[in-house]
């Protein structure tokens, strides 16, 4: 498999209330085995997927949020969160889970995976993708 394409997964919906967030994460994890250039974007209510301290005990569904912390181990470290979506919801980066990855080209230094970007910057990122999945 020599072709490497730029894959972007756009997550637009809250983590619960519909299954899109969970099934998006399942595609991302399976897709990681294909050695492609992967980025994730979180916009609109999708930013809630990355909130810290999620507790689903009150609604009786699985809390899959800890799985996002494993993304760094799958070399998925370009996670873009739209600034405007956060602000509209009264959130900032401090409300999100600290997602990190280890850079093997930099003595395994731990680096942040989450990048808060403006909608204009995100447009530019979207512009440069080959494949975009919308969830």
């Amino acid at each position: 498999m020599s072709t490497i394409k730029k894959f972007l997964y756009v997550n637009r919906k809250a983590p619960h209330g519909s299954i899109y967030a969970l099934e998006s994460l399942e595609v991302v994890l399976i897709g990681a085995a294909f050695d492609q250039d992967v980025s994730l974007a979180f916009i609109d209510d999708g930013v809630y997927q990355l909130l810290q301290n999620q507790d689903t005990s009150g609604i009786g569904v699985k809390n899959f949020s800890p799985t996002y912390k494993a993304l760094g181990d799958y070399d998925i470290n370009k996670i873009y969160v739209e600034k405007e979506s956060l602000e509209l919801r009264g959130l900032s980066k401090d409300n999100l889970m600290p997602l990190t990855w280890e850079d093997e080209d930099d003595d395994w230094a731990e680096k942040e995976s989450i990048h808060v970007v403006s909608s204009e910057e995100l447009s530019d990122i979207i512009e440069h993708q080959d494949i975009i999945f919308n969830f």
Partner: protein
Amino acid sequence: MKFGIMVSEGPYTHQASDTAYHFTEAALNNGHEIVRVFFYHDGVNNGTSLAVPPQDDRNITTRWSALAEKHNLDMVLCVAAAQRRGLLDKDEAKRAGKDASNMAQGFNISGLGQLIDAGIQADRLLVFGD
């Protein structure tokens, strides 16, 4: 051009699978190649052989099956999404100890890797969803 198709919504509830069908048919009729039609989320319900829509309405499942037969289309349901929603082929039904299977003709169950593969193979991957 080579297209990959992803269908993310259930039949009848949502326009997505109708539009995906019409696009796929038009693309094939115009000489394009469809690498794969991949059904995900509630889209897997497109593949049930047990749906009985009213006779004066379109039959979304048999329409896909006919298109697949005519053009040798590769139509895949995501196994995890299908199992959650009760879409089983004979092997899956047996493995899960269920007394029935409901995979319509021309549909196959496979993994999410087939979706990524469609993205890699195709010139364009189109997502039909909400």
